[in-house]
Symmetry: C2
Subunit: 259 residues, 2 copies
Amino acid sequence: MRPDRLALTPDLANAPSASGGLDIFVRKLLSHSALGPDDQQALRLLPYTARRLDAGDYILREGEHADICPLLLSGFAYRHKFAADGGRQIVALKMPGDALDLQSLFLRVADHNLQTLTVADLAIVPIRALEELVRTRTTIARALLVDILIEASIGREWLLNIGRRNALSRLAHFLCELVYRLHVTMAEPPDRVDVPVTQEQLADLLGLTPVHINRTLRSLESAGGIVRQGRRLAIGDLDVLRGIASYSDIYLHRGQQTG
Amino acid sequence: MRPDRLALTPDLANAPSASGGLDIFVRKLLSHSALGPDDQQALRLLPYTARRLDAGDYILREGEHADICPLLLSGFAYRHKFAADGGRQIVALKMPGDALDLQSLFLRVADHNLQTLTVADLAIVPIRALEELVRTRTTIARALLVDILIEASIGREWLLNIGRRNALSRLAHFLCELVYRLHVTMAEPPDRVDVPVTQEQLADLLGLTPVHINRTLRSLESAGGIVRQGRRLAIGDLDVLRGIASYSDIYLHRGQQTG
DNA sequence: CGTGCGGTTGATGTAAATCAACCCATGTGG
DNA sequence: CCACATGGGTTGATTTACATCAACCGCACG
């Protein structure tokens, strides 16, 4: 372990139960579920320990069991699986505010790997505390379930994306989703959205080859959809991307809770 | 409608609330969750109305909301989505014993279409009854959640399958899954597993073309993995299929509930 | 007895994979 | 401080898996 792995921000390190840290998680839940002030407060007061991970650190491996519940406060993470021939498929991308592993509370063995994509801050919540909250507050239980259902819906859209779209619109669709999902926990749309993903990771994300990703990226760039400087990749014209992907965000189920 | 399509077993037709009909659903839940005799009985006593659907009937359409909870007692159904260019992707296959739409209890709008693949018998359970059960019996609530999580896990495996495997192993993998999942609700493995899917549907299932499915099927047949007579398609040598697909069923989480 | 759907087959096209260099920025150790 | 290793990215030549196009077949059914 290198020193910077242990570097916790003062706030996180010293006052794990203080309000502020879990705000982004609450905002994520609010994006799809109605939660009263008391429920929100209960969530914010969840005990947790903060942990900063390096890019590429594993959080959970296929076959293991976890008895923790990590929330992603900053940075990106992803789920992935390997095929027998070594091919890798990224099956989910998680961003700030996302719960990373609700399923291990209910399934014995992980069916996929969970790894950070960038440097990331996690909040490790004791399952006891979460279970208690779920038991006593049905609205929160429901919100967490909705969160699980929405991730499943995103997975179905990815199936459509990988199964039925060509490389260009596949890439554009992914980038659109990135923007819309980032938007969920932010008050204002940022003027510039950075895509913190290497071309190899994009390939594993979209079921393509790094080489082909490279060529498709330049194609998207010349269309104006993205902007690149050096290794930095950023969203260019979102309307262009939406057009290429025929993007619709209904599958994200924003504010779609039912009564 | 041909006569044999209307043939309901006496139990289903005449005594929808009697025990027996929902047995297969209970068995499905038992395959991954421990349920006491009382819980099982409570499930079996759920009120429902039986409905027989023709092959190809829609159960739910994208954009709609449903306030029913259909269980699949016999036959097959599937979820699918359309791309802008008309391409279709089947994103889930449901078989006897599966709950077809738990998510509509929690999300306002369906993000996919739900359609029968074959003639099918549904048990339509009033949401009230199900909600009551979930509220009073936490073990059952947990079992239903596990069911949802396993479907999500299957979706991730499909992503790997479609994103990273070639046509032959992709097809073999799907057929393996079919066998293993059918096995879940059956005491004994059947000597012959029929695959009630047209080549076009296989194409939409696997992100391929009907023509290519056709050629891949003959390739699988000559390898011994499948047997075909006329339009009937059946599993041949499961070991062959498993070998071609490098199949492992851990993602199905059989008997994997945690404490 | 047509009609149509599902399946079959061959010829051809093409999107994406593969192979193989090479580049460049960054970081690292001698 | 330079030499080198490394990881991402870039590029062109070539191959290939799969798509597309266009017939045609044959059983089932109305």
